[in-house]
């Protein structure tokens, strides 16, 4: 590989954080460090750091949010960084965008890095849209001249022409995001760092945003580092991927392989259990278990995460309640393995539950009309009271639909599709 092509290189990047309250015991730790230093020994607190697994309780006050991250990015490449919540993705982006310094290691870059860690940074609600374009652009590193030359394009891209001389405090949140993204999209850094911007805005704008990012990398040859939980967006945008888990690089390579590995390894395990149990917390109400099963046409239940095509899906949400609720809603959202949501089953659209005592309950949903094509699916479940979400388990369980002769013709439906339908075909002569 031509070495000129490497635009960004990270060598042994680690970041240590101290848990608990800052300010308690810092002095004693500082003294201990100093005592080790004068005896020529290593910093004791750099050693005791444990890997960052937020679900298990550690013995040390120090954790490594990132440990020995090494990677190289080529010019014009779109690198997708994926991993569970708390895996260290954002910490890595923060280091890349110079917001915080790494504990060890070094990042070398051949180009300017601009970040979109959160759009709209520095927007002042009292200033008009136009003034905010200048302010935000300058914060992101543009000069006034650069902004002026692109002002018309930015305004057109944001679609906020009519409001451009109105203070942004009168904007809707969606408009603010459009304007902010528009500014960032017209930045011209060699390396652009993007974190979850696509979570906001309507579908039309998301499409526009993804298109813009593709333009940036493909036609303008600039490098993008993209962090998102939206696997569909990651797959369509990125060329290579990096999977981070507990602060360590698990995999670095082809994007499809990375996503498959992420989906298979970290969130759920296919073809093993058809249920997942959740740790108990000190909460008034919580989801304790979630189960997927299926019924065949004869009404026989199968407790396997491999669901035969054509079987009726049954979802059971086990709830532990320490108090009574009067308007409880349960939702089940089914997504494809790449993160595209395809169906939602919401209790409050169908019925109301009287839930006036405490104890153990099971919400059971039978989805008799959902005809899924063979493939891997993931389920997100949520519990809400009125409009407040009480408990949510994102993409907590997966199941696989296996091919079956659903039409009884010996011809099994094929294709890279998500749903099929029962159908009656007729041929009539007119």
């Amino acid at each position: 590989m031509n070495k000129k092509d490497i635009i960004l290189k990270a060598e042994n990047i680690s970041k240590q954080y101290r848990l608990g309250t800052v300010g308690t015991g810092t002095l004693s730790h500082d003294l201990n460090r100093w005592w080790h230093a004068i005896r020529g020994k290593e910093d004791p607190y750099l050693k005791v750091g444990e890997t960052n697994d937020r679900s298990s309780k550690g013995n040390s006050d120090y954790v490594w949010a990132l440990q020995d991250i090494n990677f190289e990015v080529n010019r014009g490449e779109v690198l997708g960084i994926i991993g569970k919540n708390g895996a260290g993705k954002s910490t890595l982006l923060k280091i890349l965008s110079k917001v915080t310094a790494p504990t060890t290691g070094v990042i070398k870059s051949r180009g300017r890095i601009a970040s979109l860690l959160e759009v709209g940074t520095g927007f002042n609600p009292e200033l008009t849209g136009r003034e905010n374009i200048y302010l935000n652009g300058a914060i992101l590193g543009m000069t006034k001249k650069e902004i002026t030359s692109k002002l018309d394009e930015i305004i057109a891209f944001s679609g906020c022409e009519r409001y451009i001389d109105t203070p942004t405090k009168r904007y809707s949140s969606g408009m603010t995001v459009r304007l902010a993204f528009a500014v960032a999209a017209f930045l011209e850094p060699e390396i652009l760092v993007v974190d979850e911007v696509l979570a906001v805005g309507d579908a039309e704008f998301q499409k526009k945003a993804i298109g813009k990012m593709q333009d940036i990398s493909k036609s303008e040859g600039r490098t993008v580092l993209f962090v998102s939980h939206n696997m569909a967006a990651v797959r369509s945008l990125c060329t290579r991927g990096m999977l981070i888990e507990n602060g360590k690089t698990i995999f670095f390579g082809d994007i499809d392989e990375t996503i498959d590995l992420y989906l298979k390894s970290s969130i759920f395990s296919f073809n093993s259990n058809n249920y997942i149990e959740f740790d108990e917390k000190e909460a008034p109400i919580q989801i304790s278990k979630f189960e997927v099963s299926s019924l065949n046409l004869k009404g026989e239940r199968s407790n396997s995460s491999g669901v035969l095509m054509g079987n009726i899906l049954e979802f059971s949400i086990f709830v532990l309640a320490n108090q009574a609720y009067n308007n409880l809603k349960a939702s089940i959202i089914i997504s494809t393995a790449s993160g595209t949501r395809i169906a939602a089953i919401r209790s409050h659209e169908i019925t109301d539950f009287i839930f006036d005592s405490k104890g153990d309950f099971v919400f059971k949903a039978t989805a008799s009309d959902l005809k899924l094509m063979p493939g891997d699916y993931v389920v997100t479940i949520a519990l809400a009271e009125n409009n407040t979400t009480i408990d949510i388990k994102e993409e907590c369980l997966g199941f696989t639909v296996v091919p079956n002769d659903v039409y009884g013709t010996g011809r099994i439906p094929k294709g890279n599709l998500y749903v099929y339908s029962d159908a009656k075909w007729e041929l009539n002569q007119k």
């Binding site: 965008s97 310094a101 070398k108 000069t143």
Partner: protein, 289 residues
């Protein structure tokens, strides 16, 4: 393995845990000069928005302070201000003093107030305190105009015009005041990220400092009345600035070259210590704030 192939110049920049002891990237600050001016504009413009009196608020504060000082210190306590009308004497002192305090107060919570921006985007953090000092300079300019207006008014009332060549050096004095406020503010803003106690201390500490900074009395007066505490004012660089400012504008009080040299020395030391601490803090404050 192929490390030797990469000469250091090939990389545009590096992000590393600890930089050199003192690294001030002035080139970078210069590249962000537009941001500096936009921050100044934002600070100056947004203050007026949705107020009835708007920029008049810049004038009301020093005017009322001076009126009250005149009543309390000159009419009630009977401090003599020489040939100069007491009100003009106080206005001059208050004007310079409030430039210092607003620079100090506003820069001292740089990190706390901007934590959300600093946590997301990188730009030279120094831009923020610099913009504060400059936007306060705008405010000072407006206050200076009202001072000139009163000066002219008193001239028509028969006050003698006593401007000397030293008046020409007044801008330098203002610069010293600004840099001193900036330096102290940077030190405090950095320490506040770890020890929140300091922000309380600054609040009333600055108020107390005013009484030993010759704001509403001539320097000589304190030394004469309280010879035991004369050192308090002699070691206070702020007192020299205010005394000298009045000398330049009103020919009142005295000018001390050694005192001014001392002030400049203190200012330079404070400013560089401030820069040093600020630079160290900006690298990792986001983890502690």
């Amino acid at each position: 393995m192929n490390k030797t192939e990469f000469s250091e110049e090939e990389w545009l920049f590096e992000i590393a845990p600890k930089d050199k002891f003192f690294s001030l990237n002035l080139k970078e600050v210069w590249r962000y000069r537009d941001l500096l001016m936009l921050f100044v504009k934002r600070d100056v413009v947004t203050v007026y928005k949705q107020t009835i009196l708007g920029p008049l608020w810049y004038l009301i504060q020093p005017l009322f302070t001076s009126v009250i000082f005149t009543i309390i210190f000159n009419n009630v306590a009977g401090i003599k201000t020489g040939d100069t009308p007491a009100f003009l004497f106080n206005l001059g002192g208050v004007m310079v003093w409030s430039y210092f305090t607003s620079c100090l107060n506003d820069t001292s919570d740089t990190f706390k107030k901007n934590a959300s921006i600093f946590g997301k985007v990188y730009f030279p953090r120094l831009i923020v305190p610099l913009s504060i000092v400059i936007s306060n300079l705008v405010k000072f300019g407006i206050q200076f105009l009202i001072f000139v207006a009163f000066y002219v008014f008193y001239l028509t009332q028969g006050m003698k015009m006593q401007l000397t060549t030293s008046t020409l050096f007044f801008p330098i004095l203002v610069a010293i005041m600004g840099i001193l406020g900036l330096g102290l503010g940077m030190i405090i803003s950095s320490l506040v990220t770890k020890y929140r106690d300091l922000s309380f201390l600054v609040g009333f500490g600055v108020q107390l400092l005013m009484y030993v900074s010759a704001v509403m009395y001539p320097m000589a007066l304190l030394k004469e009345k309280l010879p035991d505490f004369g050192w308090l004012i002699e070691y206070n660089p702020l007192a020299y600035v205010i005394e000298t400012a009045r000398y330049m504008l009103l020919h009142e009080g005295s000018i001390s070259i050694s005192g001014l040299l001392y002030t400049v020395a203190v200012t330079i030391v404070v400013f560089f210590v401030g820069l040093l601490i600020f630079n160290k803090t900006e690298k990792s404050f986001i983890d502690t704030v």
